[in-house]
Amino acid sequence: MTPRKLIALTRAGIMESLQFRLGTFVTLFANLIYLVLVYYLWKAIYASSGTDVVNGMTFNDTMIYLILATALFNFLEMFIVWDMSRSIQSGKIILDLLKPMTFRKYTFWSYSGSHVVSFVLTFIPTFVVVMIVTKGAIHMGLNLLWFAIATVLALIINFNIEMIVATICLYTESTWGINIVKETIVLLLSGASIPLAFFPDKLGTVVRYLPFRAVYDTPLSILLEKNGSDTISGLLSLFGMQLIWVVVLTIAGTLFWNHSVRKITVNGG
């Protein structure tokens, strides 16, 4: 690992993302519309249930969770599947393959700058607004530090999921369908659109052990001190699960990519 290379890529990524300032506003605006929808949807759900607390969550709990999940989603979102399939089609991938570092590392660090930008420009503002509006519903303590660590692990897991799906697309030569399937699975099973507490028992148990949950639900649970993350043992088991997935997916993703990259015939010329 050479920090100089990684810092340089991150720096360029930050500068490039800042070129698309307008994109940030569009994202914030789209989020607003989405959240208004979510608000009325869940209001109806709570109204029809007749109680204030559903599956251990109040309406406010659910809203805070979903708003932060949306902000986290904007922050963690990567477009590796799209970008890679486009650069394979055009043959541009050859230039990325010829960088003096592994393709996976190059890709990860090319994205890191845009994560930094979206963290500062979308996640932090959203967080601050939620904090002010809810007046103290989010505890300001060590949980913030644990949340930061969990988010970095989530980022690595998400990167590996993206890379593995992108590699599958090398074989299928079609991206659109597979990408839609991936996005649906991740959004549903990660807790990004429905809190895991609302899942039926059996499905909920399975989902808790899948990697998708480690991307959104784990960091959010830790931030909001839910799901037992306010105890040491609860925290450790959440981190443990994330770490296992980081290791498993990194190894699997690396092997799968190294095997597949030899099959790329590099279009055009």
């Binding site: 050479t2 050859i94 230039l95 010829l98 570092m101 015939t265 590099v266």
Partner: protein
């Protein structure tokens, strides 16, 4: 390691491609088809390139030039044969090989699209671990060869094709690689930009003793830059010798086109070493009125055709 930059022995590359069928029905059939055919893109090519040499790697469309370059860079694995670049096997040691090569593929850019060129340079400086001094020296050399100031602070997406190509060539040389591969670097450029780029490449090769492998369809590029040319056709090497040798066989041919009064073009192939072009024009002018004159470089395709016809070997 001796004086060789690149050694290829009996190098072959086959592609397996699906035999596609026509129409919607055919497309559905293709989904389950195992009906592959093999395309031999490169066949039994032997080639040794010495350090500091600048060779023109020529051939008609589909001859296998880009495929050979992809094997030399390590992104493609040869089907059979041996290949060594800077003493390493490129597809096995891709990362190591990458540190010592630079590439330009015409019409594709490795520059960061929305950033000023200088930022891409800084990024390349860091990912290739170039020292600040070497980096500044290289920029100094660039300044002495071309006027880079107007483009240095321009975002790449605002550049013209010519400026972008120029920038990509500079980017490929930035970490002072031992070998630079230029795959059709002058494609789509006007005459003055071509001239600029040729003198830049010649200057860099001379100053840094960089080995350059150049593919092009423009004989002018070859004439200006390469002492040695290698020609392949249908994947096979059919010529490998000095450009002088080639010229001695069919001289410095150019096509003279004259537009006559009745709006028709008259073409004459002229060997400048034997015939004076002005004389031909004068003679024609005495017979008919000439409205326009064009001089066309002989194309690589014509050269290859002539080789086939047995005029050189």
């Amino acid at each position: 390691m001796g004086n060789e930059a690149i050694v290829m022995k009996d190098l072959c590359k086959d592609f397996k491609v699906l035999n596609r069928h026509e129409g919607l029905k055919g497309s559905i059939r293709d989904l389950f088809s195992r009906d592959y055919k093999t395309v031999s893109a490169v066949r039994n090519v032997d080639l040794t390139v010495n350090k500091g040499e600048m060779i023109g790697y020529l051939g008609p469309n589909g001859a296998g030039k880009s495929t050979t370059i992809k094997m030399m860079t390590g992104v493609l694995e040869p089907t059979s044969g041996e290949i060594l670049v800077n003493g390493v096997v490129p597809y096995i040691n891709r990362k190591k090989n990458c540190e010592n090569i630079g590439v330009v593929f015409g019409q594709r850019s490795q520059l960061w699209w929305s950033l000023p060129l200088i930022e891409s340079f800084k990024l390349l400086r860091d990912i290739y671990m170039v020292s600040e001094k070497d980096y500044q020296d290289m920029l100094e050399l660039y300044r002495s060869l071309v006027d880079i100031e107007p483009i240095l602070h321009k975002p790449v997406r605002q550049m013209s094709l010519g400026q972008r190509t120029l920038s990509d060539i500079l980017a490929a040389f930035l970490h002072n690689p031992d070998i630079v591969f230029l795959d059709e670097p002058t494609i789509g450029l006007d005459v003055s930009m071509k001239a600029k780029i040729r003198s830049l490449i010649a200057g860099l090769n001379e100053q840094k003793n960089t080995t350059v492998i150049l593919t092009t369809h423009d004989m002018g590029d070859v004439d200006a830059l390469c002492k040695r040319i290698v020609i392949i056709d249908k994947g096979q090497k059919i010529y490998d010798n000095d450009i002088e040798h080639l010229k001695s066989y069919f001289g410095s041919y150019r096509t003279l086109r004259l537009k006559l009064d009745d709006d028709t073009w008259e073409e004459t192939l002229i060997d400048e070493s034997k015939t004076d072009i002005m004389e031909v024009i004068n003679r024609a002018d005495r017979q008919k009125k000439i409205r326009d004159i064009e001089l066309i470089e002989i194309s690589t395709e014509e050269v290859i055709k002539k080789i086939y016809e047995g005029e050189a070997s």
